[in-house]
Amino acid sequence: MDDLLEGLKAGRAEAFERLVRDHGDRLYRFVKRMVGTAWAEDTAQEVFLRIHRTVRQCEPGGSFRAWIYTVANRVCIDFLRKHPARPPAADAAGTDPSEAASSAELRDTILRAVERLPEEQRQVFLMREEADLTFRKIAEIMGCPINTALGRMHYAVQNLQKELAAHRP
């Protein structure tokens, strides 16, 4: 990972391509679930731009993955502060459970449920599930004790399970 960081700091095009290849999909999914579908593409682009512009601040020897998600998280939070009235994810709770039983609808239900989680629960859930960061790193990024991060994960899981239970036949 250090050679990727060195390449990015040196401005090598192939390093940036590797960043996009290795981390692009997961970063995009993180951003999309954080800000919603309508703004996902612009915000993801902003994340890469911010990484590109600030990579010199990333300390070698630390976790590069934690650093890029720190940047992504900050960009998303900035966006959410500027657009507090973004369109909410459609409420799947109003659909007939018998109609929502197919696996495609269940997938849709879980994604929308994640997008509707309270912001702090959503951050923890996505940093664990999409970024694969440890709770210790997540707590560092969010500036909270590890038990707070674990508690948020616990409630995120509870909320998601409640939504899924409501959509299962």
Partner: protein, 164 residues
Amino acid sequence: MDCDRFREALVLKRYGEGVPDPALEEHLAACAACREALEDMAELSTMYREASAEPLPLRVRERVLRLRKPAPRFLVPLAAAAAFAVVFLAGHFREPSDPANPARTATSDALVLQLTPAEREEIRKFRNAPESWEQESFAAESVEQIKEELERFERSSFWDGGEL
């Protein structure tokens, strides 16, 4: 049973982060609800990861990769000219002659302010002597950012009444 006491430890165990905890294991052996909660967490995780599997859209990938591509040499003077045009236009819009579009005035000013002194210096240097790839890339990137910010401004003015 005192399940709440093991709430955080259960989350850590699910993700394989916790250290072995005899008290938790003893609780799990006796508590069917917590065993079920552990299985449910794993199932939820699997469901989410399968549902969420989606690549970075190609158009975003292409836009992002352009950030690091040096501009073709014949485009470099055009890029520099565009950057200076924006700076000039910002000065123009700063004049009270554009009262009809104060939001755009603010945008142009904001864009210019976003250029760091180093970027401005790079653009100036590179206008006179476009020697190195790094200089070209830096300047082209600034222009690219300006163009994208302007595009974003146009879209945001359509979507939310002109507020950035």
